[in-house]
Amino acid sequence: MMLKMHDINKVYQTDSVQTYALRDFSLEVNEGEFIAVTGPSGSGKTTFLNMAGLLETFTSGQYTLDGIDVGELSDNQRADLRNQKIGFIFQGFNLIPDLNIFENVEVPLRYRGVSSKERKRSVEACLEQVGLASRAKHLPQQLSGGQQQRVAIARALVGKPRFLLADEPTGNLDSLMARQVMELLEEINRNGSTIVMVTHDPDLARRVPRNIQVVDGQLADLTLYQGQPEIDSSCVVERPSEVGL
């Protein structure tokens, strides 16, 4: 089991209002799976992504990542876990504009304390894999959007994470480039990495073996839609969502 969330709640609290971004959210992802998470804007997709990627803490529930209960971890331990187990691919690429391509890909390895020789080998290998080895000295803004996203993918892969989180990886790309990125992700998945991809693009989601939908902070597993037309009552929305109090 790669990822196991059980009854996760994320509550944003202001003086008078409690808002459930996630409510009793449970999900299991097996090693080697490729999952697409869809859902309308504001449904809690991004919150789910933040939880899964340890970018935010949750209010209650249990989350086990690769056998580690992350609920009790300190900020530093969470940072280390992100660094070692998770690779991120962001919608806006999030390359660091001050650093060149090589230095960008190198960032996670630096935080891991990898030796400079080792870093060089890994970075070059990853850039090779995404087809940008010749652009190592360029700055991000000198590359096209598709190239930038490939750099971001190289950065996500460089630490050899077992778990990849992709947030709208093709959101800022045209369809040709989007297809290239998607093919790259599929290849990575075939090599054994678990991938969870958040997207609002149904065409993209359809290419992925397992789809889940987040609606109002709760989960609907759509794999069964594709497999069999009837709705499995155990997997659909169990309770009507309540937002706010």
Binding site: L55, E56, D75, N76, A79, Q91, N94, N100, E106
Partner: protein, 402 residues
């Protein structure tokens, strides 16, 4: 692991902020090290031992307009009267007040004119056998004047004194190894035998280079404008100063008593422009450091707000909070270090320029080093606050779209 290389390449791509920081640090180092140097020069002057127990001595001026008395006689009567005031240790008439900025000086020779001779500078006070105790200076060789050696006269050249007590500094400036006791020196054409040597005794101009070569000459030339020096128990000085005018006018009333002033006050007045300069420099230094610290804080804040997304991304990619703080500290330290090196050269250059244009001493390097170190620490402190704020940027910023 300080990650200097990527920090450097990031700096290369946002030069303006770095240059501004560098400029501020360099200018601040140059100004502050020179200012601190001048302050410390001033301080060491102000703290110098003058030889006098300043808290126990006060002076006043008597201006006599009555013509019906003998001034010499009245002076003796006055001195005796003052000595009898409870709390007074001793009192003397003199033509000048030590440390006050107004006094007399003459050149001093080992042989009379027109013979060639070594010449020196003597700042002198007239006084009687009570002067030594009134001044409170320390006699280290020889003896005090005898009453019969004190000359009352209005003609120094023809009917003047034959003895003098000099300071150690004068003895050393005129004689080998300061062996001056019993020797003669010539002042205004008169041969004076050195009968005593005192330790430190500053002239009326303590700021001057030759303020230490002084002497007391046993000569009383009472005039209608006359200084009195009084030494009291330190605790009694204020009381005696309060009643002195009344007592003096009781003794004889056709005169005016003015400038009743403690010796420390006289010196303070003499030093007031130095103190003013020092205070202005201190204000300048403090405000300058404050402004520079604010500037560093502002620039760091600017850098951070420009890089919010980047910081979130770094956090998402596994950077610990401490790594973020360290990033900004190292970045600042690198820029500062360059600024400090430039500033140190600037400080030496400015010091040289000031020395050439004005009569101040050469800046010594340890002030530059001290200042540079201080500014370095201050800049790190100024960075810590915004850097910690930067570290608390949530990694979930990374998933937020623009």
């Amino acid at each position: 692991m300080l990650d200097i290389k990527p920090i450097l390449s990031a700096l290369r791509r946002s030069k303006v902020g770095a240059i501004l920081l560098l400029l501020q640090v360099a200018l601040t180092t140059a100004i502050v090290s020179n200012a601190i140097f001048m302050i410390s020069q001033n301080l060491s002057y102000l703290r110098e031992d003058t030889g006098y127990p300043q808290q126990e001595i006060f002076s006043f001026v008597v201006m006599t307009f009555g013509k019906d008395i003998d001034l010499d006689q009245q002076a003796e009567l006055d001195e005796t009267m003052i000595r009898n005031i409870p709390g007074v240790v001793n009192s003397t008439l003199s033509q000048a007040i030590p440390l006050s900025g107004g006094g007399s000086s003459a050149s001093v020779r080992l042989k009379p004119l027109p013979e060639t001779s070594k010449e020196g500078h003597l700042a002198y006070f007239y006084g009687d056998e009570n002067a030594l105790e009134t001044f409170g200076v320390k006699l280290i060789e020889g003896r005090n004047f005898r009453p019969e050696e004190v000359i009352f006269s209005n003609n120094f050249q023809d009917n003047g004194p034959t003895t003098i007590i000099v300071s150690k500094a004068l003895a050393q400036s005129m004689f080998d190894k300061g062996a001056a006791l019993g020797e003669f020196i010539y002042v205004e054409g008169r041969a004076l035998e050195i009968i005593g040597i005192v330790d430190v005794m500053e002239s009326a101009w303590p700021r001057a280079d030759d303020s230490g070569t002084t002497g007391i000459i046993p000569f009383i030339h009472a005039q209608n404008y006359q200084h009195f020096l009084v030494r009291t128990e330190a605790s009694e000085r204020a009381n005696v100063m309060n009643i002195i005018e009344e007592k003096m006018l009781q003794a004889y009333n056709k005169r005016v008593i003015i400038n009743v002033e403690g010796l420390d006050e006289s010196k303070d007045a003499y030093d007031s422009s130095d103190v003013l300069m020092m205070r202005m420099l201190i204000v300048l230094v403090v405000v300058l450091i404050l402004v520079t610290a604010l500037g560093i804080l502002g620039l760091t804040q600017f850098n951070i707000s420009k890089r919010t997304k980047q910081i979130g991304t770094r956090r998402a990619l596994g950077a610990r909070k401490s790594a973020i703080v360290r990033y900004f500290l190292v970045e600042n330290a690198l820029v500062c270090a360059v600024g400090l090196v430039i500033g140190s050269f600037g400080a030496v250059f400015l010091g040289k320029a000031l020395m050439q244009a004005y009569s101040i001493d050469a800046l010594t390097l340890n002030y530059v080093i001290f200042t540079a170190f201080f500014i370095f620490v201050m800049s790190l402190l100024a960075v810590v606050v915004p850097a910690r704020r930067a570290a608390s940027i949530s990694p979930s910023i990374a998933t937020r779209s623009i």
